[in-house]
Symmetry: C2
Subunit: 389 residues, 2 copies
C-alpha cells in the first residue's frame, strides 16, 4: 500500500510548493485569460473554461499554491487528455426537490462543475433559506474555499466538501491501510465590514503536498504527520513516497484528538459521497490497493444558507461585523502578530496580487510556458513595473 | 480573564469524570424515570421532561459522562432555579420557508428544545431532501451527538452544532483573551448493517472537563492543551482554574493545524449563532471579561439530510454498509485493537448499559440521591444482579 506517487492522476493535493528559485510575477487578468485559453483548446465551452480557470488561479491568488496552477500540467490536463474527464460533460439532474438537487456530473471538470453547483445551491437558498446540491460523478474540484466563497458573493454562507472518489490516502487511526482521501472541507461566510471568513482545510493533518515539499527541501517533519507500519512517528518526509509511511488525520495522535480528525474525514465522506452515491475509497470488499477504475467518481456537498431569507436583511451583517471585528481586536500574545481569522490573509494577498501580479515560481513559470508552447498559445509577459520581481 | 471556575452555571463541559471510587449501577429505565420526575417537579411538561431526561442519560449510557447526569445538579437545576431557563417555554417560529425554520427557543431547556428542533428538521427533510432548523434563545443542549442521532432513527443524517452563547472559553490562536466557546459539533449517520457513525466533538482540543479531571487526579497534561499568557505550553492542569492558562483549539499548535480547529470553532459560531441571531462571545465591543447577561442566548444549528428522498431507498444503506464494513475490516496496527469508527464503541456501551444498568460513580450517586431527597422523589435501587457492582 504505497501512497500515491508524485504527480498522481487524481491526487487531491499533488506535488507542488514553489522552491526558493526566483519568482516571476504575471498580471492576474492575463494569467486567467491564458488558463481559459488552454482549457478552451481542450474542448471546454468558453464560460466553463473561464470559471475553471478562475478556480485554478484562486490557489495562486490566495496562497494555496498546492491547489493552484501547479495542477494544470500535472493533474487537470492529464485528466482531460486521458478521457477520465469529459470536457463537454453536461451534468444531469437526478432529483430536484427545490431546496435540494442531486446531480450526476458525468465526468465534468470539477473546477467548474462544483462552482456551478454552488451557484445553484445559492439560487435555491434565496427562496428556501437553505439550498443543497449533492453531486456524484465528479473529478478533482481544486480549492474547496473557492466554491464556498461563491455563496459569499451573494451575501450567503457557503459550505463545500468533496471526497476523493476511489482514492485511498489516509488510514483510520490504528489502521495499517489507507481507506479514505484527504477529504477537504470549506466554509465561507460574509464577515460584515471585514474580509470574508474562509476555512479551507484538508481533514488530514496536512495535505500530501506539505510532506513532499519538506522531502524536496531535505527537512524533517514534526511528529504527528506520518506513521510507520506499526503506527509510530515518522519524521523523514521522504518515507511517504517510498511507501514506508502513511498520512494521519487532523490532531495527529490520540492526545491531540486524532479521532476528531478521522471523524471529520468521515463526515465529509458521508455528506459528499454516500448522499449522492459517488465513489468511496473502501468499496464493499476492502483491500490494501485501490482498484483501477475508469472514472474518478468524486462526490461533492455544496450547501448555501441565506441569512437574509431567514431574518431581517442587515441583521446578519451587523452581528458578523461585531464578531469578526472583536476577534481582530483580541489582544495578541505578540504585539507584532495581531490576531487574524482564516480568510483574512487570503483576501489581503489576493488584493495585492490582483494589483501587482501573481507570483509564479521559476519552475512553475517554465512549466506553464511549455503548456503554452504545446497548446500554441502565447504565455503572458511578466509584470515589469509595480511589484514585479 | 480567568476561565470559568468549576461548576459554571452555563458551562459547556462542566466538572466531572468519575474518579476511581466504587461505582453503582442503576437500571436505565429507572434512572430515566427518576430524571424525568426531577424535571417535571421543576415545572417541565411531561413529554419534554422525558426527552430532556433521555438527552441527559445519553451521556452516561454512551460514556460521554462529562455531558451526562453529572450536569443535573451542577448545571441544569441551577439554570432552572435561577430563572435563566424557563421550564414552560414555548419556542416561537420566527420564519418558516418549508425546508428551513428559524426558531426563538425563548429560554427553553436545550436538552429537549434541540431534540424537538432536530425532529422538525427531519420532518422537513423527508419532503425537501434537506431540512434546517436554526435556533436562538437556547440554553445548554447537552450531548450534541444525542440530537444528531435523532435523525438516524428516521434513516437520515443529522448534523447538530451549538455555540456557547455569550460564554468565552477559548482564545483565537495567538490571542491572549478567550473569545469563543468550545463550540460542539456532531454528525450522525446510518451505517447500514453497522452501528451508526456518530462524531460528537468539541472544536477545542479537549473539553474543559478533561482538564479538570486531570487536575483532580494530580496528573500532568500533554503539551498542546493549555497556553500560558505568552502562548507557551502549560502541562499543569490546575493552572486552568487558577486563571493562569487558556484552552486551545483542536490541533493544539500551528504544526498540528490549530488554525483548522479555530476555523471549525468559527464554523460552528457562524452556523449556530450568526445565522439565527443568537448571542456570541465577542459582542461588538470586545473586552477581556464576559458581560453579565440575563440570558444565555445559545444558538443551535440542526440539519437533516434524507438520502431516500434524493435517490432510491436502500441505495444509501448498501453503500454505507460497504464503507463502514470496510473500515471495520481494515488491518489494524495492533491485532488486539481492531479498527473502529466514532459511534461504534458508544453503541456497544449503550447496549451493555441498557441491559445491565448504568454505572454511576460513587460521587455522582451521592449527588443524585441528594437531588432525590430535595425533590421528594425516591432514587432507584442499584442493580443487584447481572453486571451490578
Amino acid at each position: 500500500m504505497p501512497p500515491t506517487p508524485a504527480a498522481p492522476a487524481t491526487g487531491r493535493a499533488p506535488d507542488t510548493a514553489p522552491g526558493p528559485a526566483p519568482e516571476v510575477r504575471v498580471p492576474y487578468d492575463a494569467l486567467l485569460a491564458f488558463t481559459t485559453g488552454v482549457l478552451r483548446a481542450r474542448g471546454l465551452p468558453g464560460g466553463r473554461a473561464a470559471t475553471a480557470a478562475e478556480a485554478l488561479c484562486h490557489g495562486d491568488l490566495t496562497g494555496f499554491t498546492t491547489h493552484g496552477l501547479t495542477n494544470l500540467a500535472r493533474l487537470y490536463l492529464p485528466l482531460l487528455d486521458s478521457g477520465r474527464c469529459d470536457p463537454q460533460a453536461e451534468p444531469e439532474t437526478v432529483t430536484d426537490t427545490g431546496a435540494a438537487v442531486l446531480l450526476d456530473a458525468r465526468r465534468a471538470l470539477g473546477l467548474w462543475a462544483a462552482a456551478e453547483a454552488m451557484d445553484l445551491a445559492a439560487e435555491r437558498a434565496r427562496t428556501h433559506g437553505i439550498g443543497m446540491v449533492s453531486v456524484r460523478g465528479g473529478t478533482h474540484f481544486g480549492c474547496a474555499g473557492f466554491h464556498a466563497l461563491r455563496a459569499v458573493g451573494q451575501g450567503m454562507i457557503g459550505l463545500a466538501a468533496a471526497n476523493c472518489g476511489h482514492q485511498r490516502l489516509v488510514p483510520p487511526p490504528g489502521g495499517a491501510a489507507p481507506m479514505l482521501g484527504t477529504n477537504p472541507l470549506a466554509l465561507a461566510s460574509p464577515a460584515g465590514d471585514h474580509p470574508p471568513f474562509t476555512l479551507d482545510m484538508s481533514t488530514s493533518v496536512v495535505p500530501t503536498g506539505r510532506i513532499r515539499a519538506a522531502a524536496r527541501a531535505g527537512e524533517t517533519i514534526p511528529p504527528g504527520w506520518l506513521s510507520d507500519a506499526s503506527g509510530g512517528d515518522v519524521t523523514d518526509p521522504a518515507a511517504y513516497d517510498r511507501g514506508e509511511a502513511e498520512l494521519r488525520w487532523l490532531g495527529g495522535d490520540p492526545e491531540r484528538g486524532v479521532h476528531k480528525g478521522f471523524g471529520l474525514g468521515l463526515l465529509v465522506e458521508v455528506l459528499s459521497a454516500l448522499v449522492p452515491g459517488a465513489g468511496v475509497g473502501p468499496q464493499p470488499v476492502a483491500g490494501r490497493k485501490p482498484t483501477a477504475r475508469p472514472d474518478d467518481d468524486v462526490g461533492y456537498f455544496l450547501l448555501a444558507v441565506a441569512p437574509a431569507t431567514l431574518r431581517s436583511p442587515g441583521a446578519f451583517a451587523t452581528a458578523a461585523t461585531g464578531l469578526f471585528g472583536a476577534l481582530l481586536d483580541c489582544p495578541p500574545h505578540d504585539p507584532d502578530e495581531p490576531v487574524r481569522y482564516p480568510g483574512w490573509h487570503e483576501q489581503r494577498r489576493s488584493r495585492e496580487r490582483r494589483a501587482h501580479g501573481v507570483p509564479l515560481s521559476a519552475a512553475l513559470h517554465t512549466e506553464l510556458r511549455a503548456v503554452a508552447d504545446a497548446t500554441g498559445l502565447p504565455f503572458p509577459d511578466a509584470v515589469v513595473s509595480g511589484g514585479a520581481v
